[in-house]
């Protein structure tokens, strides 16, 4: 059987499985905050369909389709993964599970973790049992992520962690946190940081939600007071946590940029959303039309660029610092797209929970895209120095 035949056989099988297993209510293409299933011990399913969908998908490894089977995945290769997303999109299926464990910790563990760590931490992520959050930023650090002040004092078999993190997404709903902790205060800034895994239920861990301009609190401040972290809860080597962080930053940038790419579900809706706002003759408002066309063109081209970098990386041609480019272009575009959607929505978009749902909240949320995971300014400086080789 040729590669193509294998892939098509997989498609047929998957299509059948989806037909049988994806509940009808989960086929509404839901992308909003409400529609997401995050998992974790605090999780309450919004419907039995949501629960069924998660359990069935997890059983097949489809919550993390590209992870190895032994860690809870389906072991799909790149071609199969594409087919997987195509078939999911075909029936408008919701993602059965989303989480920082899937997006962030998983890739880090797969790359830096020991076999034992993978076996221990990955399957509960894949099954949506344990929810993770990320502890990188600290108050006042801003773009200077490596200026980590939270300390882990070496106590032999454990570190004693003290300090404070900020912008920890959904820390109040998470079970565990992966965090950058300074374990060597004498070393240069980037050389004394370790990447630790911490149980949020441990004594001394506290969280406080931060209310954002969109009215919701997706982020928290997280405080550590004399928290004991066993030595085996480190990913990678001691004081080499910055390597893990950098790897994940690159990964995160690609992920955030994907949000604006237009080939993802949200992007595919742009034309449809605009058509709704338009009259019978189409979108005749010249200003809006011109902006919409430019946005659509850019979204499609950025989507193709994501695709191209994946292909390049598969072909062994590293994308290198291009993730900074993708992050910059993707997030700036996403902001523009949401400005456009607010504009198209007119006064209907100006109400919380108005006729257009959470359009205003989504719009405000995008403003953080070009700040979190490295600001647009930092991305441009990276390109300037590392790609273009400009001095300074």
């Amino acid at each position: 059987m040729s590669g193509n035949q294998t892939v098509e056989a997989f498609r047929a099988e998957l299509r059948g499985w989806l037909e049988d297993n994806c509940p009808q209510e989960m086929r509404d293409g839901g992308m909003s905050e409400d529609a997401i299933c995050w998992g974790g011990t605090q999780w309450t399913f919004s419907s039995s369909a949501q629960k069924d969908w998660l359990e069935r998908a997890a059983a097949k490894g489809y919550t993390v389709p590209t992870w190895p089977v032994e860690y809870g995945g389906a072991g799909l290769n790149r071609e199969e993964e594409k087919v997987f997303h195509e078939e999911m999109a075909r029936i408008n299926a919701r993602s059965p599970l989303q989480s920082f464990g899937i997006w962030m910790l998983g890739p880090a563990l797969l790359h830096f973790g020991t076999h034992e760590q993978k076996l221990h931490y990955l399957p509960p992520i894949a099954r949506g049992e344990i929810r993770w959050c990320q502890g990188y930023s600290e108050p006042g650090a801003g773009s200077d992520l490596a200026s980590v002040q939270t300390k882990g004092a070496d106590q032999g078999d454990h570190w004693l962690v003290n300090g404070q993190k900020i912008w920890t997404s959904y820390a109040d709903k998470a079970d565990w946190i992966f965090a950058l902790i300074r374990t060597d205060t004498d070393a240069p800034k980037h050389k004394g940081i370790s990447f630790l895994l911490i149980d949020m239920n441990d004594a001394g861990v506290e969280t406080r939600p931060i209310k954002m301009i969109s009215g919701i609190s997706p982020f928290c401040e997280t405080f550590f007071s004399d928290v004991k972290v066993p030595k085996h809860q480190i990913v990678g080597e001691e004081n080499r946590g910055w390597d893990v962080a950098k790897y994940l930053l690159t990964h995160e940038r690609e992920m955030i940029s994907g949000g604006g790419a237009g080939l993802s579900g949200g992007g595919r809706e742009l034309g449809a959303i605009l058509a709704e706002s338009a009259g019978e003759d189409g979108l005749t408002d010249a200003t809006l039309r011109a902006d919409a066309m430019r946005c659509e063109i850019d979204a499609l081209a950025i989507g193709l660029t994501l695709e191209r970098y994946k292909d390049q990386s598969e072909a062994g041609q590293g994308a290198g610092d291009a993730s900074a480019m993708l992050k910059y272009m993707g997030t700036e575009l996403n902001k523009q797209r949401h400005e456009l959607l607010m504009n198209a929505g007119g006064s209907d978009a100006l109400e919380w929970d108005g006729p257009l749902g959470n359009r205003a909240g989504d719009w405000l949320r995008t403003k953080a895209n070009s700040i979190e995971g490295g600001t647009s300014e930092v991305m441009l400086s990276i390109v300037s120095r590392r790609v273009l080789g400009l001095p300074g």
Partner: protein, 371 residues
Amino acid sequence: MAKLVMTEDETMLADSARGFLDSEAPVKALRDLRDAGKTHDAALWNKMADMGWAGVLVPESAGGSDMGSAAANVLAHEMGKTLVVSPFLSTAVIAATALRQVSDARTEAALAKIATGDVTYALAVDEGTKFDPNAVQMTAKSDGNGFRLSGKKQFVVDGGLADRLLVLARTDNGLSLFDIPADRAGVTRDASNMIDDRDAARITFEDVEATGDDLLGTVDQAMDVLRPALQAGQAALAAEMSGLTAGAFGMTVGYLKERKQFGMEIGRFQALQHRAAHLWCEIEVTASAILHAGRMLDHDPENAALAVSLAKARATATAQLAVQEGVQMHGGIGMTDAFDMGFYMKRARVGAEWLGDYSYHAEQVAALRGF
């Protein structure tokens, strides 16, 4: 034409307004109101009326100070700086201008009540998601000597708090403007939960009775009364937006000077310097358009359409840029509710839509310039 320079009187008015508002209505006042679940502070509005602001466009014969549009814009600009919540635009600018287009005992009395702060107004025009008076479908059917109003309005700013409504509706041969109490039978107001925390409503009119006396101006000729009112409102809104732009920009420049990253003030980074400088240039140019609109409304109102659309279009674009740069340059903190920048961003967004968005006014400019 009067000069494009602030007069001494205007500068004094601005200074005294600023002094009052800094103590009585800083951004915190909006925050407190929001946290209390309210959209209106009647006590504040009474104080403003006492200072003569409610009567800024009311003729002296009706107890107003009749200072003109440029002065109203000065007040609106200062209010914008701290995102003051008040029915100033709806009542003191739009309704007062509409009412003074008609000279009779009834409008004289209404204007007097506006000047004292004893009555508030809201303008009900929009029916779709975009401002377009000519697209109004709401009907006012002749019924004996009066009319029966049926239809729906949305984005009626101050529509929840207002005592009276100015309602645009379609009569037999055109559009007519009605001035009716907000609690008249058949009027249902649903508060809109606005992102800028100000008062607004969706309003349903079910067979609402209106007499000939409720008609403001001539039947089928609403625009004679409404056009000047809209223009005064659009110019004052542009001024308010330029005020909020100034407020957001001031915060941002202050932050650039104070915030350190990578060992130095971020205001030393040339990329940010140039963006801040560009923004300042845009602000300066917009200021000219707003000053000009005020002068035209006061001295050559028949020909003010271009000036007003220019001011609203520029103010809209500049405000968006100012709040977007404001949030981005502040970084994460700018995204938190605890910080004020988000209030500026949300107000700028609502101001962008109200009384015609950028595109609406750009098309007015294009039409007036022949393309």
